[in-house]
Symmetry: C2
Subunit: 322 residues, 2 copies
Amino acid sequence: MKRGQAMKNENIAKNKFDEDLLEIRKTILNNLKSTEKNSAKLMDNLAADKGKMLRALFVLIGGSFGNIDRKKLIEMASAIELLHLATLVHDDIIDEANYRRGKSTIHSSYGVKAGIFTGDYLFAQSYVLFSKNVSPKSIIEVSNTIKTICVGEINQFFSVFSLESDIKSYLKRINGKCASLFSLSLAIGAYEGNADKAIIKKLKSIGYYTGMAFQLIDDILDITSETNFLGKPSGNDIKEGIYTLPLLYEIKNSNNLIIENLRNGSTEKVIEILRTSEGLTKAKETAKKYTFKSLKLIESLPDGFEKSYLNQIVEKMLVREY
Amino acid sequence: MKRGQAMKNENIAKNKFDEDLLEIRKTILNNLKSTEKNSAKLMDNLAADKGKMLRALFVLIGGSFGNIDRKKLIEMASAIELLHLATLVHDDIIDEANYRRGKSTIHSSYGVKAGIFTGDYLFAQSYVLFSKNVSPKSIIEVSNTIKTICVGEINQFFSVFSLESDIKSYLKRINGKCASLFSLSLAIGAYEGNADKAIIKKLKSIGYYTGMAFQLIDDILDITSETNFLGKPSGNDIKEGIYTLPLLYEIKNSNNLIIENLRNGSTEKVIEILRTSEGLTKAKETAKKYTFKSLKLIESLPDGFEKSYLNQIVEKMLVREY
């Protein structure tokens, strides 16, 4: 194929995904409708949130490696986004986050009680959509992913402010926080579309590596940038007792200055030291390793629009300044 | 069939259910196991809770009207109990309940954050078990039931301390709180066992009427008894702003003395007036109507052990002193 042809096809591919994303957005809005006045109020609050729809894009891309009805794929992608939204509503309670993407969160507008049941409602609604479109085996995968997310959150909760947190637990934790849902998103469409088993396996791994790198980079940016993407001041994780990889490397290497400042609650000082630490360099290297693994696996996928599109997205996500 | 024979058979039936309940208990315990240290700790906390397993019993009874593999039925009953447990963990956060059946609740032992994700984990685990044993159509029913429960809780939350709450919303609310899961429990086994459609419909209604009467009686007992079954002082609902049927009847009839005392926050006085009110009498009549409807429908089921056993359970549940 000539270069010109490839570029033209790439544009067609982009347009195709844009149309699908519009359909997904409509499906999500339909699934957020409620005939009940009070729940409708809560759902309206969520409907305004457009998000990046990264996970939906992953479902579309993954699905293209199999043979699956477009409508089914769109509903699966919408279900994944609803599931993601459910975890965000509960996460925001945990993180005591009052804003998400500039909008006030459910629990900050209506209280923790409303937030808990809004999240539960969204979980149930996403299962309705999954049940209509996927096999029982995939519903088990979805449920196991939710369990992994919960275990990640539970482990994070129990490890706050703990100098005993180790790197292995950290990596497991960020798998729950991010990588597990990326992995499910990339694989579910392919699985339901009876794609080649080796390709499904690759997609799962690409989702995993991408999610690991994505979360690692976020955790690094929390230390290196002045304000992070949520508009929170830098070092927010450490202030909340969530010890991420750069810090864990320093704790492992018995950096007494850091440990002492942590014990004293001098988080500003800890962040200052971390910014020029070997721990930060090592964390960046770890992020690069995951990024490299992801891009290498993408390279091994069958050539086509989707492969190049996936490559673009992953590069855009992971090749950031920090 | 002679009376002696019927009684003997009844005992056999009871024994059969006892054995099934033991199996269900084992299945629940297996499903509460976690390989993760922190989640295992939370699950262990829940494993001690034996409960009444009413919903599991309903699944067993409903299932006997169809033709279904015993192991499948036991796993479905266990899944319903896990689902119920998930809602209890989240409910206890909402109700700020520190104890349930004498044991400290998850959120009171480990905090709200742990409570939220423990509930989510249990939801996911119950879906794992459902997905292995029921059709996609039943998974949609399960999900719709969870939505009804959530809508009930959301509506309750938005109606606290509101003199505008009406009887229709109250009945809808207690459907979510109790009746919807009773209805699902009685019907799911019969549906999956391809029982006669008319019987499935009856079982759904029996579950609904039983649940409505059960919740109504609980709400009445909150006013009439000195301490309620949770060991809370009487009138707890009213103190928390949850206005139940006896009170709603009085508000509807513009009982100014009650309305005034509600406005002043003199809940003790409100409870005292309610105890001899027409509203209480009318609420008792409403509970009796639902009980009667349930028992009448049970009477119309095909004769057999299960019918008489269901009748026994429902009578034991609903024919209480208040």
